[in-house]
């Protein structure tokens, strides 16, 4: 995470050593340019973990501050991959019912709508194709065997390295009738950050989608009034994106200077 922040710092601080790193200094502009083609890994690896980025070195500094000899370390950031049936718990019944419900509707087949089913740490995540989100949400709400009455919220996540799937919107649904939960994850590329709104299905998503637009710049198409909600109306940028700096000023204390949090030495 500190890597992105470093990329925003315009110039190196004069006091910082620059030539001590054993590794060739990584240019701050392509800190996240990985050699691996992430798109291909996703398409083929059904059950293989999904790589969303790469971690370099063992410590935060990327501009020569790492004198440990671990500067050349490269570790992939792997998220849990798709699960294989049976998923366990109520997850098999839920996905089965959803498959039937989507089939009846005839709009989208289950296979097209749900790209990946991930069961991880006892939680069920359905990765939904963005154009199919309203259909899936409606089926989850209306089918008597599913009956997810409440959408508890929308959260955004920004993965700048996942080419073509940079922005994720994460929906948590709750069924009080069946006492179940399911998480829907929808992704959109940075260049075309649009996701269909589900306000017409779950009115409670209204403010949550506005917040996600405010913080990540995801445009929820069909939202009745997609305006900023937490930041001022004329605010430039979307603060929760990883390329948006945290900001802050150096603080002087007893002669020493403490840099702002995103410029401090850190670990990754």
């Amino acid at each position: 995470m500190s890597d992105e922040k470093k990329a925003d710092t315009p110039a190196e601080k004069p006091g910082e050593p620059t030539a001590t790193a054993p590794e060739p200094t990584v240019d701050s502009d392509d800190l996240h340019a990985t050699d691996l083609d992430l798109t291909e890994a996703r398409a083929t690896g059904d059950t293989a973990p999904v790589q969303i980025g790469e971690r370099r070195g063992m410590f935060g500094p990327t501009k020569g501050g790492d004198t440990t000899g671990y500067g050349g370390l490269r570790t992939p950031i792997l998220f849990p991959g798709a699960s294989e049936k049976p998923y366990g718990s109520y997850f098999d019944e839920l996905t089965g019912t959803l498959e039937t419900a989507l089939g009846e509707a005839g709009d989208t087949a289950y296979g097209n709508a749900v790209e990946r089913v991930v069961v991880d740490r006892g939680e069920l995540t359905l990765h939904v194709a963005r154009e199919a989100l309203p259909t899936v949400a409606r089926a989850l709400r209306d089918d008597p065997a599913l009956r997810f009455e409440i959408c508890t919220g929308v959260s955004g996540v920004h993965f700048p390295n996942e080419t073509g799937r940079e922005l994720h919107a994460v929906y948590h649904l709750l069924s009080i009738t069946h006492n179940r939960r399911v998480r829907l994850e929808v992704s959109a590329p940075d260049g075309d950050a649009t996701i269909p709104s589900i306000v017409s299905i779950y009115p409670s998503a209204d403010w949550h989608e506005r917040e996600t637009w405010d913080m990540f710049g995801i445009i929820f198409e069909g939202h009745p009034a997609l305006t900023r909600i937490l930041m001022p109306d004329d605010w430039p940028g979307h603060p929760q994106r990883k390329d948006y700096p945290l900001g802050g000023i150096p603080v002087e204390y007893k002669g020493g200077v403490v840099p702002p949090p995103d410029e401090r030495r850190s670990y990754n």
Binding site: M1, S2, K5, I52, G53, R55, T75, I77, L78, F79, P80, D120, R121, G122, E123, T125, E149, I150, C151, T152, G153, S155, G156, V157, H158, V170, H172, L174, I176, N179, R181, R183, Y202, P203, S204, A205, D206, W207, H208, E211, R228, I229, L230, M231, P232, P239, Q240, L246, P261, D262, S266, Y267, N268
Partner: protein
């Protein structure tokens, strides 16, 4: 104004420059001429607005209530469209207390995140801490390894916080209705709980007491007696509140059938907590999806069927008695269950132990002696855990808890690093505030106050 000269008669300081005359607000020389027409508003859709208002011929007033209004529960801005005394449209404007806590958490270690999230909803600090720590523990896969004593202390602290939050809700709600005594009684009783918090955590608010893997430290000596004593006092105080509120004709007149939201409305708007239970649905995550061992405690889920502000007050009152029941059970258990309050895994557990010294609370001297004088390895271990922190395996988790206001959850995403990749809090106040329009449109202006008070929003949690 018929003539521009009239303004100068009583204000000698504003005498027009000789030979210029006319409008002192003029922007061009042409406007300064006597008899020139003065337009004060122009541009954009202003003309359309004027035409629309003229065409309607109504006494339509748009009033901004807040953000600095004493009865809007903090910096909440309500935009009300009034027709006389009737509210025809109501919208809530938020964001005045946005402090970027979630963004800040991405730049601090997992343990430091507790210190941030505790400040979100400042009336329910323990609940944010618990949902955040439960999320981390699920990501780490150590949910089963939390010591029993730590879980009991968590429940104890959460239930005390619940009473604390409900007391402030009733107290400030009462004050907004003009009942100052309700406020003084509420805050007086809350003070007893804050004293316990101070004894246990060192702080009255923003405790940062519940940590990933357990709690920061064990209860101090004599704390259980203090809690038992306080429970008795609280019972008396709550009874006093009940006598003040329950059959109070003024309160009933103000709150009965005000702020009505039925079950379907609650479901559609995602409303949880006392508001949902006031429609008769016994939905409580402590019962339906228990955490921290809530399934082993004996308590009732309070419901009523009026779905109005009055029933929400009564539910909160009764819930506090249920919380007292749980607190008494935790005290009994804490007398029997001894042992650690932090996970065994030394790679996760916070290394320092706290104690109270002559200058207040801080690292225990025994621990300092060990790391500074005895064991170099201990010092390295302490230093690594405190500065770098522990790594959390990549993935995401969402472990909601039943906060006094409804479902509070933390969506945590980890990329396998020492800091949260993303921490998003689903605050119940944020969600429930969406119901303002449904609760107050068609009612009187005074009912808006009651409706908002019955939601019990805390802007620190709404805006984060």
């Amino acid at each position: 104004m018929a003539s521009n000269d009239t303004i100068y008669e009583d204000s000698p300081g504003l005498t027009p420059e000789p030979g210029v005359g006319g409008d002192p607000y003029a922007t061009t020389d042409a406007d300064r001429e006597d008899g020139a027409r003065v337009f004060n508003a122009s541009g954009g859709d202003w003309g359309d607005l004027v035409d629309e208002a003229t065409a309607l011929h109504e006494e339509r007033i748009v009033v901004n209530m807040g953000p600095q209004h004493p009865s809007t529960h903090g910096v909440l801005r309500l935009i009300l469209e009034l027709d006389g005394e009737t509210v025809t449209e109501a919208r809530a404007g938020i964001g005045y207390l946005h402090t970027g806590i979630e963004k800040n958490m991405e730049f601090r270690s997992w343990v430091q995140g507790v210190t941030f999230c505790t400040r979100m909803d400042y009336l329910t600090p323990m609940f944010q801490e618990v949902t955040y720590c439960l999320g981390i523990e699920r990501l780490l896969g150590i949910e089963d390894q939390i010591p029993e004593r730590a879980n009991i202390i968590r429940v104890l602290m959460m239930e005390l916080t619940r009473i604390n939050s409900h007391l402030v809700c009733l107290g400030t709600g009462g004050m907004e209705l003009g009942a100052t005594t309700v406020m003084t009684v509420g805050f007086r009783e809350r003070e007893r709980i804050l004293r316990i918090f101070e004894a246990v955590t060192g702080l009255r608010m923003n405790n940062a007491y519940i940590r990933p893997g357990g709690v920061a430290q064990d209860l101090p000596h004599g704390c259980l007696d203090q809690i038992s004593e306080t429970v008795g006092d609280l019972r008396k105080g709550l009874h006093e509140l009940e006598l003040l509120l329950n059959e109070n004709p003024i309160l009933k007149g103000r709150t009965k059938n005000v702020g009505y939201l039925d079950l379907a409305g609650c479901m559609a708007l995602g409303v949880t907590g006392p508001m949902l239970r006031s429609t008769g649905l016994p939905h409580d995550l402590r019962k339906s999806q228990p955490y921290c061992g809530y399934e082993t405690y004996d308590f009732e889920v309070i419901t009523r069927t009026g779905a109005d502000a009055y029933d929400r007050i009564r539910i909160r009152l009764d819930e506090m008695y249920e919380s007292l029941k749980i607190i008494e059970q935790t005290v009994e258990r804490l007398k029997k269950v001894q042992g650690p309050v932090m996970v065994e895994d030394k790679k996760i557990a916070w290394p320092a132990q706290l104690s109270v010294g002559s200058d207040g609370q801080g690292n225990s001297l025994d621990h300092i002696r060990e790391i500074m004088g005895t064991s170099m390895e201990s010092l390295i271990h302490h230093f690594k855990l405190v500065t770098e922190g522990f790594r959390v395996p990549a993935g995401q988790a969402y472990v909601p808890v039943e906060s006094p206001k409804g479902e509070l959850g933390c969506h945590l995403v980890s990329d396998g690093g020492t800091r949260p990749y993303r921490a998003h809090f689903r605050d119940p106040s944020f969600n429930n505030l969406q119901a303002v329009a449904a609760l107050s449109e068609g009612g009187q202006v005074a009912d808006v106050i009651v409706a908002v008070a019955s939601i019990d929003p805390v802007m620190g949690g709404v805006d984060r």
